[in-house]
Point group: C2
């Protein structure tokens, strides 16, 4: 593997993690690297040494290897700020990427910008590259993409543009509530009760205002009627996703939805949306990130040809 | 003060804190003691030594001093379980308190039970004693009590009974979101913007389903349009309280509301409810706890007379 020719390096630098893919001449992934040195762990001057030490073993010779980066490395608190493009816009490509001069290794780094929306105020960094990945495979895609995660995004795509989007803190709320709130005593383990989940989605959609009391109800039921942790965990997720779906209804009503995200979380969204009669397809988050970065790489080659 | 005759000791033993009041023969508070040894810090066998070492300096002679305890010390994970009374019921008084035998000091400890509700499932421990305090001062009180806090309670009182109640995790959500979520970067300091608060209450009431996206909007506005931390903090609280008020509407619509809680939090609820045209009165949480424990003490004296 070390003998294979390295063509370029794809990087997804998020808040918590750094992921890099060493890509060969034929587009094959020669090596997949991960590190917990996410943006939140790093001072500004630590980004360059972190990246170079991660990829150094794979660099040979003098040729500057192109590195294309998406994610929080381009945030104001990141490596260097790659200012947001403003929606409606196409997913930012190589033309608006920010070039960096690297001294410590023969790398040619470019950071892709995120996208902002002025009203209602919203931002994304990283998801725009997954959207670019979807559009690279299906340039005529027109419809709705939902990217479940810590900060779930609902995105309206038309004529190749991000028309509008909306972020929900659903995943972060689930993490905080299941690990750090009084509910942590009631939702232990990683079991799952699918029927309880779907019932809670319906409840969350019907009475989103009751969320803060429905949540405490999980604790009360576990105290006074031995609610099973599997059911409590599934209902916690269902209540949060249900409220989100109620608010995101203008995005998905009467639409097919493309889901991009982690498999188990996408499965929850798929079940909830299918129960509303929608047709849903799922794409892996990492696959779409890599496809979006590869599209930027192809555009770079064309620019330089 | 050490010379004054000690009549009894009032104790509020919560999840995070232990508070005790040394009460003299004339009902005067001789000493107010606090400790961070809340229920969550203690093993079962640590409750007795924690209490006795706190109050020991004030105990003289052989007479067993009555100690009346409310709060989480009576939970299953507490000192000893004082099983819940079931609503509808009067606030549990001394008649249903659990007597404990204490070996290490001349104390006669009784723990007041909490109250549960079977459907919708809900529980309280501590608030029932504050309610007893309100009813001790105003036995004919009929209406709605709201007890803002980590787990805010809305309680319907009629004919001296807790008829029904509902708990909202609003305060815990505010604490988690303002300290541990991505919003911590946007809501720093302890400033306050009253107009932003009331606008957010209206928004939270009108669109409770959008909570998880309105919350992320605070982060986005601070990134792209320099939202002031004071405004962000007030809006975070307003969005959460607004959603709660929408769900608690059956409790407060057309009612006067008695608020019991910490002063600054009660002020927020009072402003939000006043904007809905309600008449609101406020009582201090500690005063009501002490009044409720004193009512239990009087009942004990009558039983023993």
């Amino acid at each position: 593997m070390y003998g294979a020719e390295i063509e370029w390096i794809a990087v997804d630098w998020g808040t918590s993690n750094l992921r890099a893919w060493i890509i060969g001449a034929d587009g094959a992934v020669l090596q997949r690297l991960t590190s917990d040195k996410g943006m939140s762990q790093l001072q500004r001057n630590e980004f360059e040494p972190t990246l170079t030490s991660l990829v150094q073993p794979f660099i040979k010779g003098e040729r500057r290897v192109p590195v294309i980066v998406c994610g929080m490395a381009g945030a104001r608190q990141g490596w260097v700020e790659a200012p947001y493009e403003t929606a409606p816009c196409t997913p930012p490509g190589i033309g608006t990427a920010l070039p960096l001069s690297i001294r410590s290794a023969p790398l040619e780094v470019r950071i892709l910008p995120g996208v902002k929306q002025d009203s209602p105020a919203d931002v994304m960094r990283g998801e725009e590259t997954q959207i670019a990945g979807i559009l690279a495979a299906d340039p005529r895609f027109d419809g709705v993409i939902c990217l479940p995660g810590t900060h779930t995004k609902w995105v309206q795509i038309s004529a190749g543009e991000i028309v509008s989007f909306r972020t929900f803190m659903t995943g972060e709320l689930f993490a905080l509530l299941s690990r750090q709130s009084v509910l942590r005593h009631s939702v232990g383990g990683d079991g799952w009760d699918g029927d309880a989940f779907l019932a809670a989605v319906r409840d969350g959609m019907a009475r989103p205002q009751a969320l803060a009391s429905s949540l405490f109800g999980l604790r009360a039921e576990s105290l006074i009627s031995d609610l099973a942790p599997d059911a409590a965990r599934a209902r916690l997720s269902g209540l949060l996703i249900g409220a989100e779906l109620q608010a995101a209804r203008p995005y998905w009503l009467g639409q097919d939805v493309r889901l991009v995200g982690a498999e188990s979380l996408c499965r929850q969204y798929a079940e909830a949306l299918s129960a509303e009669g929608l047709s849903v397809s799922v794409a892996g988050a990492e696959d779409m990130t890599l496809a979006g970065l590869a599209a930027a790489r192809r555009a770079l080659e064309e620019m330089q040809a």
